[in-house]
Symmetry: C3
């Protein structure tokens, strides 16, 4: 987003904003409650989705790769007995002329071990490209993460 | 919520989503600002409300019990000079055929002692059942809390 | 906000609520991403804006003073190599008869040093007065901060 201040802030309608908020709550819920479902989570991305993290040499490409990665993550978390939560906040949404959405948000990744206090594992600046599936659902086509505190 | 991915995610209208968000901000505000009002907070629950926490043998039942409990909590917090905040986030809302709402959200309970840093007291997974009062207001009929990190 | 429980909670429409949420994400984004723009941030306040913090003897007055202060803050943060984030949450909005808005929200100020964990620098209770610019944009006319844990 550029620093425009002339009334062209990329605000979207309340309907769209509430949909994006609910989509994110839904998406992360799929892998954070009891009954975490890596497959359902992967279905919230397009077949050719790109998932990139600043500082990593290569992005992950494709729903199958994302499914495998998140499944391993879910199993690792379960093996440790952790309760893991992702909070998204300060969400900005911009609608492009082609009806794709660009979102920007902060994320906190937090874990609580059995009997232990909550530990904040990371703070992230995130950008998504969201598109519509044929049935109208939102899907992530690209997710780009920048971890706070990384070397630059 | 089941892991359905066929377009039937339980999203609600922007009007309803914004109402629930404002209800939660309002509700917790009632006991967290100066002038905390345990009675007003209790009025945001139905007369026969049930408040349950995973791992506790018995839920609390009824608005009167909730009022007494929250009043004791407010007084305890004030006696310690703490500033206490509950943050709700990642809210999902599902509307049932009978027009009751089921919500799911994360909560962080945070306290700051005089001159001290903020301490995160707990992370919770929460489910509410919300119903309408005769005058149209939302009321909590059931609140179910699951503290992260508890023994299972 | 008074503790009214008779259906007159100061809820606003979904359109207005989503606009305020997007405004806050936009506003803080202006000084927290790469390319922080203190000038653009200052433009989200009225010319005669008042910015006050409980416990400080004098509020800051006027957009020029705010611009200078935030610019110094942005430069200080950049010099330390920090990633700084403000999260706003639990937002309440009340519309006054004169169409100004009163908002109430919690804020967390968080910083991550290079290679370091996230540190929560402060928790705040915030109240804003928002007005409309001639072009319809929201502007902050008054922002009042109360840091949790301060002496009282």
């Amino acid at each position: 987003m550029s620093g425009t201040t002339n009334g062209t802030e990329p605000y979207v309608s309340a309907e769209l904003y509430a949909e994006v908020q609910q989509f994110y709550a839904w998406q992360m819920n799929l892998v954070e409650g009891p009954g975490a479902d890596a497959d359902a989570w992967a279905q919230t991305f397009t077949e050719d989705a790109v998932f990139e993290s600043a500082g990593e040499p290569e992005p992950q490409r494709g729903r199958d790769a994302l499914r495998a990665t998140v499944r391993a993550g879910v199993e690792h978390i379960a093996a440790q007995g952790l309760d893991f939560r992702h909070w998204f906040g300060m969400v900005g949404v911009e609608q492009r002329p082609d009806h794709t959405l660009r979102t920007r948000y902060y994320a906190l990744a937090m874990a609580t071990a059995p009997g232990g206090p909550l530990a904040i594992r990371g703070s992230l600046l995130c950008h998504d490209e969201l598109v519509r599936a044929d049935d109208g659902r939102l899907l992530v086509r690209r997710r780009s993460l920048e971890a706070d505190g990384r070397a630059r």
